[in-house]
């Protein structure tokens, strides 16, 4: 009876199949970290960039590499170092003696899936080179504008700022990441599984045999579907209330921007699609804010001194806002 009433308005078959396949592929190599994998997939479906943070050795880069491998698109990797210059990322104009003219040599940022490893080891000068390309998907150099090919996804990894030799990323750049995915230490069971896999050399073999699951075209069409998902007016109001509260919260020095509101809605749409629905429910929304806001909001110095985490504040904010129904 239910199926009679709720005929599918949107065909989510390809999306669901792709999501399951990616999860299964990544799950063969990455032990645990289900939430992180879900967020990575949602980030790609929601047309966002993802920042993966964790202490050294928790498979951040491996996860990003696997995700890049699952997509059949131009992949490039940039290792961020303290002496990296903006031109090393974007590209530079080089004089060609044959033509007696300057030619633009594209940097590694020209690609579809850009893996920026250890992003916070480069100073703010280099980070600012990414501002335009991350938001507008274009680069302007020497008065010329270069449009990025679709899809353009930045998957960046970083160590927590407390680690040696790291810089805090500029707020403007952090705001451009849809999610900050935190990779935590595995549990005892997961740790044993990792050891067993490594002992049998399963990881390196499987990594070499990963076949792309989605093409560039697939990603573009899936993103179109996700963008078209329905969000009821009260659910939008729910999102707006959450973000508005971050701006007036006494524990926060910096709240969420309108870009953060859009990010919550887009991410919730991606999760709804992953759950097989063509509309967003408050459940989809409630799951998203910690990952969308934890890198965007800034705690007041006293709260930071007390050791309060942004996730705790976000959780408390959500708890005080009525679920629309």
């Amino acid at each position: 009876m239910e199926d009679e009433i709720f005929e599918q308005r949107t065909d989510l078959t390809q999306l669901s199949a792709a999501v399951e396949q990616i999860k299964a592929t990544l799950g063969k190599i990455i032990v645990g970290q289900q939430d992180a994998i879900d967020l990575l997939i949602a980030g790609i479906l929601a047309d966002g960039h993802v920042l993966i943070e964790g202490v050294p050795g928790v498979a951040k880069t491996l996860m990003a590499k696997l995700m890049a491998k699952a997509i059949d698109a131009k992949y490039s990797r940039i290792q961020f170092t303290p002496d990296l210059m903006p031109s090393d990322v974007l590209g530079t104009s080089v004089f060609n003696p044959k033509t007696t003219d300057f030619e633009f040599k594209q940097g590694p940022v020209f690609g579809n899936i850009i893996l920026i490893d250890e992003i916070n080891r480069a100073p703010a000068k280099t980070q600012s080179a990414l501002f335009e390309v991350m938001e507008e998907r274009q680069i302007t150099i020497d008065g010329m504008r270069y449009q990025m090919d679709e899809p353009f996804i930045v998957l960046a990894t970083q160590n927590p700022v407390e680690q040696e030799g790291t810089y805090r990323l500029p707020e403007a750049q952090l705001d451009r990441f849809l999610f900050k995915v935190e990779i935590r230490y595995p549990s005892l069971e997961e740790e044993i599984n990792i050891l067993a896999q490594q002992h049998q050399q399963v990881t390196s073999e499987q990594l070499a045999h990963i076949e792309p699951i989605l093409s560039r075209g697939d990603i573009i069409s899936l993103r179109k579907i996700v963008k078209g998902l329905r969000v009821e007016a009260k659910v939008l109001e729910f999102v707006a209330k959450i973000i508005l509260e971050t701006r007036s919260n006494k524990s926060l020095f910096l709240g969420g921007s309108p870009r953060a509101s859009l990010a919550v809605v887009n991410a919730a749409k991606a999760f709804a699609a992953m759950r097989g629905r063509d509309f967003v429910t408050p459940d989809d929304v409630a799951w998203v804010p910690p990952s969308v806001l934890r890198h965007r909001i800034m705690l007041t110095p006293d709260k930071e001194m007390e050791g309060v985490s942004p996730d705790e504040i976000v959780k408390q904010i959500i708890q005080k806002i009525e679920i629309p129904r």
């Binding site: 009876m1 239910e2 009679e4 009433i5 709720f6 329905r230 009821e232 659910v235 209330k241 509260e245 919260n249 006494k250 524990s251 926060l252 629905r277 063509d278 509309f279 967003v280 429910t281 408050p282 459940d283 409630a286 709260k303 007390e306 309060v308 705790e312 504040i313 408390q316 904010i317 959500i318 708890q319 005080k320 806002i321 009525e322 679920i323 129904r325």
Partner: protein, 237 residues
């Protein structure tokens, strides 16, 4: 005496000869008591208080004088034990005074319904204003409202009310704990009875598709859904 110098261009010098006082008597002079009295009576010589103070300035003058008096410790000349005792006594007086004022404030706040302990409690996070819609599920006359919505062919609203009534009944029965921040999924997970959870999950799905998904339903579909909700409520009660 002065004597002129022989040189004509030099400045003449004066020689002063002081005579030795050989009288041996000292004349002690006294203030004129009457003159003193006159001076003290004269208003022009009264400097204790500035003239033309406003009532506000007078009030603060009084406060400061009173505070200064509080911390004035008496010294007993020649007896240090009494001096210390006097200081101790003044300290006890001050403690009693501060304690009395604090107790008075405490009782006044308590009488006013203020949670006094919460003022001093260190909250680890922000106090977020409680946000709740004007609608209260405990005060809605569900039967009447559902009937009204169905009669107006507003089946979407009717399904919403059916779902809210279902939540209220589960809450009244103690199967779930109603809280504004709980999502539908949270309520589903809260149900311990497997059959009940499965049935409620199905009803939740229907509500979500109609309310959030804005799926259009006709009278026939509404009747089916309404029946499913009623059956669930009867089984639960």
């Amino acid at each position: 005496m002065a004597s002129a110098s022989a040189s004509t261009d030099a400045v003449p010098k004066k020689t002063v000869i002081l005579r030795a006082d050989t009288s041996g008597t000292v004349n002690v002079r006294h203030f004129d008591a009457n003159a003193l009295k006159n001076y003290t009576r004269d208003k022009d010589f009264r400097y204790e208080q500035a003239k033309d103070l406003s009532w506000w300035e007078t009030f603060w003058q009084w406060i400061w004088d009173w505070l200064a008096g509080l911390f004035k410790f008496k010294k007993v000349p020649g007896n240090w034990i009494l001096t210390i005792l006097s200081i101790l006594w003044r300290i006890i007086e001050l403690i009693v005074l501060v304690g009395g004022v604090a107790a008075l404030i405490y009782f006044l706040l308590k009488a006013g319904g203020v949670d006094v302990r919460s003022i001093f409690r260190r909250d680890s996070a922000a106090i977020v204003p409680y946000s709740e819609s004007d609608e209260n599920i405990n005060t809605i006359n569900f039967d009447a409202e559902i009937e009204k919505a169905a009669a107006a062919h507003n089946y979407r609203l009717a399904v919403r009310l059916l779902y809210l009534r279902c939540l209220k009944q589960l809450s009244d029965a103690g199967a779930i704990e109603w809280k504004i921040d709980k999502t539908n999924y949270a309520y589903i997970s809260e149900l311990k009875n497997d059959t009940q959870r499965s049935a409620f999950s199905s009803l939740t799905r229907r509500f979500e598709y109609i309310w959030y998904g804005e799926f259009a339903i006709d009278a026939r579909s509404y009747n089916d859904i309404s029946l499913a909700f009623n059956q669930f409520n009867q089984q639960g009660s």
